[in-house]
Structure formats: structure tokens, C-alpha cells
């Protein structure tokens, strides 16, 4: 990974919020349009994009609603432009129709969700209650988003670069799913500049005026006999191919008897609990999925085949645990600890659930 370096050869680090790292990462990735409507806890993203994007030669639009934001994203994507919207849970719900249309018409765009408490307006604190919505398709129809889950401010930056690349590689919307913890906390981030985006990355499908060639049609409506089935088969094959993009951080899994599975902020908080228990001699490790779709199921299955037991920890009432159980089905089950949205989690909260799961042979 290329880094800017100082005279002394050490990479320069900047001290920023996760939300700001999202914006920096988007700009580094060549994002040229941002559409959004304000909502806590992600307002630092539009705030920064509002001045930084015009400076970078792009366009910032504060839309009249989240519905409009998502449809503007669809429009920019149809023109082959790297474009972004961001919101938090209730706002993301409003975007689902357009996201389904983007998936159906194979349009690349990046959507950031800084998950807050729900259901409904919930609160402005952290939560992982939007896992199902993000991973199972929050809108209608059989579709998938690629879903990336940052746990650090550096990952907020890096995953934005990755998100745009994946969106155009697969012509599919990509969601970056954080929460109020990673959005609001500050950490040192090493900015890096990816290779310049090829101006031709969307040249064979984008809408740019049909001068000198046949018109193109980007659509999600397939009424002709057999057309929709063909489109769905094509999409399913694409989603299956995405499995190659699955990523996870493994921490102290080799000799672990129990594997904690936790993503995002909860993953890093679980890591502190695991360090504490390791110091007491408990053989516990962590798998932190960095992609939620594709899910790192084969990795978990391999660990299950080694005889390890599982505990899934989430900041919700039990969502990702279903994917963990599917991954290891027929071998072993996963225990579950859900920290209630509305309450701030800390590593001490996870100690007893981990010890319980270790005792349950």
C-alpha cells in the first residue's frame, strides 16, 4: 500500500474522525459527486464533502430528502461517475427503493451507513441493528450489496477506496457499514493515494450521449419472455463470484478453543476483552469479518472443522449470528451475546458471555 512519507521516511499520519476518514478516502478514490441529506451521527461526512469536493473538481448536492439523494446517486452512476451518498439508519431505509433499482440495473455507487439505534428513529448512539438490511437486501428483489465493515479510522479510509473499486469492478452498489463509534472517534490515519482512476472504467456501458454509436439502455424492468429470469441468473452468478472478495481479521485463532465472531466497532471492543482473558490463560480468539457480504463463511467453517467453538457478539438482538450458524452448520452451533442497542458497549460487558461460552462444552 503506497503511503506519503515525510523526510524521515515515516508515513505522515493525520488525526481525524472516522467520518472524516470516510470523506478523505472517498476523495482519494476519485469520488466526483456527493448527494446527501443531514442526519446524526454522520454529518461530518457531508460537511467535509461540501467544501472538499468542489475543491477537487466535483459536485456536492444537499438533496431535499434521502429518497432524492439515492436517486441522484443512481443517475450519476448511470453516467459512469464515481458517486457517494451517506446517511444513518432511518435515512438508509428511505433509500432502499433506489438501491434495489441500482442493483437491478447494475449501477455502481457507494452508500455509507453510520448505523444508529433503531427501530424507527431510535437514538443517535451506536448500533448494529442494520446488519440484515445491509446484507440481506433492504429493498425488494433478489439482490446483494457488497458490504464492508470498518472498525478503525484507517479502515474507514481504506475501505472507501476499496468500495469504489469493487462497485465498478462488479457494477454493483457497495455499502460501507459503520456505526456511531467508528464515525465519531478519532485515530491517526495514514492517507494514501491509489492509482488514478481510468477514465475508461465505465466506457462500455455508461450513458454519455449516443453520438456515433447505438443507444444504450440501463434498466431494471425486464418484461420480455425469459428476460427477467436471465437477468436474475446473471446477477446470482455475479454475487457468487463476489465470494472471492471476502475478508476478515483473525486474531489469536490458532490455539483458540473459542472463536468470538464480531464485526466493526464491536470487533475491536471484543479484542480488548480477549486480550484481558488471554492474560488470564483463556484460549479465546477473534474473527472480525471485514466484508459482511461476501461473508467469510469458509474461514469460519475451516475453524469449525478444527473443533473450535463459537460465540457471536453483536450490538443488536441477533442478526449476523444467523450467517455464522449457516457457515458452520452440521459441525457446531454458535452461542450468541447481543448488547442492547441504546446501551454503550464496553469490553467488560463481553467478559462473562465469553467465559460462559468457554464453559459450555
Amino acid at each position: 500500500m503506497p503511503h506519503n512519507t515525510t523526510d524521515t521516511g515515516t508515513p505522515e499520519r493525520i488525526f481525524i474522525k472516522g467520518n472524516e476518514a470516510i470523506a478523505h478516502g472517498a476523495l482519494a478514490a476519485g469520488c466526483r459527486c456527493y448527494f446527501g441529506y443531514p442526519i446524526t451521527p454522520q454529518n461530518d461526512i457531508p460537511e467535509m464533502m461540501s467544501y472538499a469536493l468542489p475543491d477537487a473538481g466535483g459536485e456536492f448536492v444537499q438533496a431535499e430528502s434521502e429518497v432524492a439523494s439515492a436517486n441522484m446517486l443512481l443517475g450519476a452512476a448511470a453516467a459512469g461517475i464515481r458517486a457517494l451518498t451517506s446517511s444513518s439508519s432511518p435515512g438508509i431505509s428511505l433509500m432502499q427503493e433506489a438501491i434495489s433499482y441500482m442493483a437491478g440495473s447494475e449501477l455502481p455507487g457507494v452508500i455509507v451507513n453510520m448505523n444508529r439505534g433503531g427501530p424507527g428513529l431510535g437514538d443517535i448512539g451506536p448500533s448494529q441493528g442494520d446488519y440484515f438490511q445491509s446484507v440481506k437486501g433492504g429493498g425488494h428483489g433478489d439482490y446483494k450489496l457488497l458490504v464492508l465493515a470498518p472498525a478503525t479510522c484507517q479502515e474507514c479510509y481504506d475501505m472507501m477506496v476499496q468500495a469504489f473499486d469493487l462497485a465498478f469492478k462488479y457494477r454493483n452498489p457497495v455499502m460501507v457499514l459503520g456505526d456511531a463509534i467508528v464515525g465519531q472517534m478519532k485515530e491517526p490515519v495514514t492517507p494514501w493515494k491509489p492509482a488514478a482512476v481510468a477514465g475508461t472504467e465505465a466506457a462500455d456501458w455508461r450513458l454519455e450521449g449516443a453520438k456515433g454509436r447505438k443507444p444504450r439502455l440501463l434498466k431494471s424492468l425486464f418484461l420480455e419472455d425469459g428476460a427477467l429470469a436471465g437477468q436474475n441468473r446473471h446477477l446470482q452468478a455475479k454475487y457468487a463470484a463476489m465470494q472471492a472478495e471476502a475478508r476478515a481479521e483473525s486474531f489469536l485463532t490458532d490455539d483458540a478453543e473459542l472463536i468470538v465472531v464480531a464485526y466493526g466497532s464491536i470487533g475491536r471492543i471484543a479484542k480488548s476483552a480477549i486480550r484481558k482473558l488471554r492474560a488470564q490463560g483463556h484460549k479465546v480468539g477473534l474473527v472480525r469479518p471485514q466484508t459482511l457480504f461476501p461473508f467469510p463463511g469458509p474461514l469460519l467453517r475451516g475453524l469449525a472443522e478444527q473443533g473450535k467453538r463459537f460465540l457471536t457478539i453483536e450490538h443488536n438482538c441477533g442478526q449476523m449470528v444467523e450467517d455464522v450458524r449457516l457457515s458452520i452448520r452440521g459441525i457446531v452451533d454458535s452461542a450468541f451475546y447481543g448488547h442492547m442497542p441504546g446501551e454503550m458497549p464496553g469490553s467488560d460487558d463481553f467478559l462473562a458471555p465469553i467465559l460462559d461460552a468457554m464453559g459450555g462444552k
Binding site: 515515516t10 499520519r13 488525526f15 451521527p41 437514538d123 443517535i124 448512539g125 456511531a180 463509534i181 465519531q184 472517534m185 478519532k186 485515530e187 491517526p188 475491536r268 471492543i269 471484543a270 479484542k271 480488548s272 476483552a273 480477549i274 486480550r275 454503550m344 458497549p345 464496553g346 469490553s347 467488560d348 460487558d349
Partner: protein, 180 residues
């Protein structure tokens, strides 16, 4: 053993606890360490105490949220009532005894008393009490060098107020010296 320190800094809104939290985090970063900073967030800001949490470590940092901190900077009485019970046994707390009753300090923790407002007043501006307390904290914990903290002032004080940096460095030094 890995270098690791965490601290909750708490006081009234306006006492500058977020500023010294950022300053310590910048100093940690400038010392080449990993740091996290997280402000208390939400309705709690509008009553009682304002606080933030900083973690400094030479390995990657797990939780940025600390339920039982190893250290505290306590700028007012409500913050002592709220956070002292959470301080780990053997932890260290810096009390601003200009506003905090030191007789309530528990024997199970190490307490460093510094009349931060009074010292800041003598230096010419009571608003620098936060810097006095941070200077005392740096002496009490040794988490980073005071010089690195001083050099990091420019990162948290905007250019418009940069003329105040030498005075704030003096306040850091005064707190450091008092805690000696």
C-alpha cells in the same frame, strides 16, 4: 509488556476537557504511538459532566470505550462522584482541587492533587486550568514526554489563537512542576 494507558477526562462543559483530550492524543501520535480519542456523545453533553476518553498504546488499540479506566483527570466535583468509583484499583487520578474536595479521594487509588484553577489564575487566565491539570497528569503517569505535549499545542489551538501557545505551554509546565 506493551505500553498502554487509558484515561477519562471529565469536567463542566467549557472547562476544555475535549481540548486536552485531543492534545494528549496528538502528543501520543506525535510520539509515534497509537491513540484513540472518543468524546462522550449524546444527551449527556447537556447536563452534568463533559468527558472524553483517550487510549495510548504501542500496539493496536482494541476498545476506544473504557468502562474501568486506569486513570482520570477530574476537573470538577460531579466528575469525581461519577468516575472515581469506576477507576481501577491502583489507578491514578489527577484532581483539580480548586473545585474538587480532595478528602473524598479513595485510598485504593493514587491521587495527585493540583489546584489547577488557582495556578492558572496566577498565570493570568483561569481558562488554562485544563492545561495545568494535563501537565500534572503527564508527570503522574509519564505516558508521553511533556515536550511532545508542548510541541503538539499547535495542533489543537487554531492559528487565530496561536499567540496563546507559549502561555499554554507555561501552564502545562506549571502543572507538571506542581505534581513533582
Amino acid at each position: 509488556m506493551a505500553l498502554y494507558q487509558d484515561v477519562i477526562m471529565a469536567g463542566f462543559g467549557g472547562q476544555g476537557v475535549m481540548l486536552i483530550g485531543n492534545l494528549l492524543a496528538y502528543a501520543g501520535m506525535n510520539a509515534g504511538l497509537n491513540v484513540t480519542y472518543i468524546p462522550v456523545y449524546g444527551p449527556e453533553m447537556r447536563g452534568g459532566t463533559a468527558n472524553c476518553t483517550v487510549v495510548v498504546s504501542d500496539e493496536d488499540i482494541g476498545s476506544p470505550i473504557i468502562q474501568r479506566p486506569r486513570s482520570l483527570i477530574v476537573m470538577n466535583q460531579p466528575s469525581l462522584d461519577k468516575f472515581q468509583p469506576r477507576l481501577e484499583d491502583g489507578g491514578v487520578q489527577v484532581l483539580n482541587t480548586s473545585l474538587v474536595d480532595a478528602s473524598q479521594a479513595e485510598a485504593r487509588v493514587r491521587t495527585v492533587c493540583v489546584p489547577a484553577n488557582d495556578i492558572a489564575d496566577k498565570l493570568g487566565n483561569t481558562k488554562m486550568a485544563n492545561m495545568v491539570a494535563l501537565g500534572a497528569y503527564v508527570r503522574a503517569t509519564g505516558v508521553v514526554d511533556l515536550d511532545v505535549v508542548k510541541k503538539s499545542l499547535g495542533s489543537v489551538i487554531s492559528a487565530h489563537y496561536s499567540h496563546l501557545i507559549p502561555k499554554n505551554a507555561d501552564a502545562l509546565q506549571a502543572g507538571f512542576d506542581h505534581a513533582g
